[in-house]
Symmetry: C2
Subunit: 166 residues, 2 copies
DNA sequence: CCAAATTCAATCGTGCGCAATTTAAATGCG
DNA sequence: CGCATTTAAATTGCGCACGATTGAATTTGG
């Protein structure tokens, strides 16, 4: 057995890092809610716009890879963003299977109004720069390892990346 | 301005701790899925059982406080757990408004089969004991601060705890 | 004691997440 | 070329999350 964690694993709720993650993630989402509500966005919709603001128009598949979300989540979400007039869904000529997601002018303009949000979130989190980086680094590694293990167990259903691993 | 984090707040996805949290939480839930599927449980249902195994029968309200989940989530979830024969919902005589959630024998027995799960999750996370505690500690503080701020902004809608704060 | 306020829980509506299935377009291969 | 395979996206179904509303039981205050 490796040197992972406490080595006495219990079924106590507060021992479980998973619950800390789950609780933290939901708390942050709830903080976003009142900040995004004036923009008419949900948190996942905001994440989609972050990617589009950063990288420009993208096919749905690449959006999904960036956010680790599948079509089952993205398709209806993008339809709602289109309904809000923030993105266009354009069937590409080179490959008629593929749909490119483009920002409309309104979607592009929304970026201005979102500029202040990261600072407000960061402020509420109340971590120092070192803590922020530390947590982010540990979570990045954790996510990668956990996703790899999940892919093994699930029999390679969501084979997003990573080799067969034995 | 306080000493929170990087001080150059951007709209870049990978700068955002919130996304690391969101991605990590979903990855962990996906790892639980194949482990819980043989027990016929979802991850939130498993969390409810953790609390009941630890603390015994509880009114719905206290379950919700422990997990930070509201009735809108818990009521249907508990109805499904009752349908699976793992818990009973007992209207209390002293206070007819309150419903006590009790484990059935089957729910109690399931504890045995769940004993191995925390170790499997901990192993996949691949953190040392120090890292584990560090992340957990930082997330606990973060969650508390973020929830407090969210409660302020939302105008005290979900006034779960904590004073008015100015 | 009784009306107003509070509390516990359920329900409803919306929007994720995700597995599984379906459809259509593109690619590969004999 | 022709047909099987692969790929992009949408759809379906289920189970959360959560705000808002509702209803019933209890508590509070006059």
């Amino acid at each position: 057995m490796t040197d992972t964690a406490t080595d006495d694993f219990t079924l106590l709720l507060d021992d479980q890092l998973c619950f800390s993650l789950y609780a933290a993630s939901r708390a942050v989402t709830q903080l976003y809610r009142p900040l995004l509500e004036p923009l008419g966005l949900t948190y996942p919709q905001y994440l989609v716009l972050l990617v589009l603001w950063e990288r420009g128009a993208l096919p749905v598949r690449e959006l999904g890879e960036a956010l680790r979300l599948d079509y089952g989540t993205l398709s209806p979400l993008l339809k709602r963003l289109e309904g809000s007039g923030l993105v266009r869904r354009v069937r590409r000529a080179e490959d008629e299977r593929s749909v490119r997601i483009e920002l409309t002018d309104a979607g592009d303009a929304l970026r201005e109004r979102a500029m202040g949000i990261p600072a407000r979130i960061g402020d509420a989190m109340g971590l120092t720069a070192e803590q922020h980086e530390q947590v982010q680094g540990l979570l990045a590694g954790l996510t990668e390892r956990v996703a790899a293990r999940a892919a093994e167990l699930a029999g390679r259903r969501g084979d997003r990346s990573g080799p067969t691993r034995q």
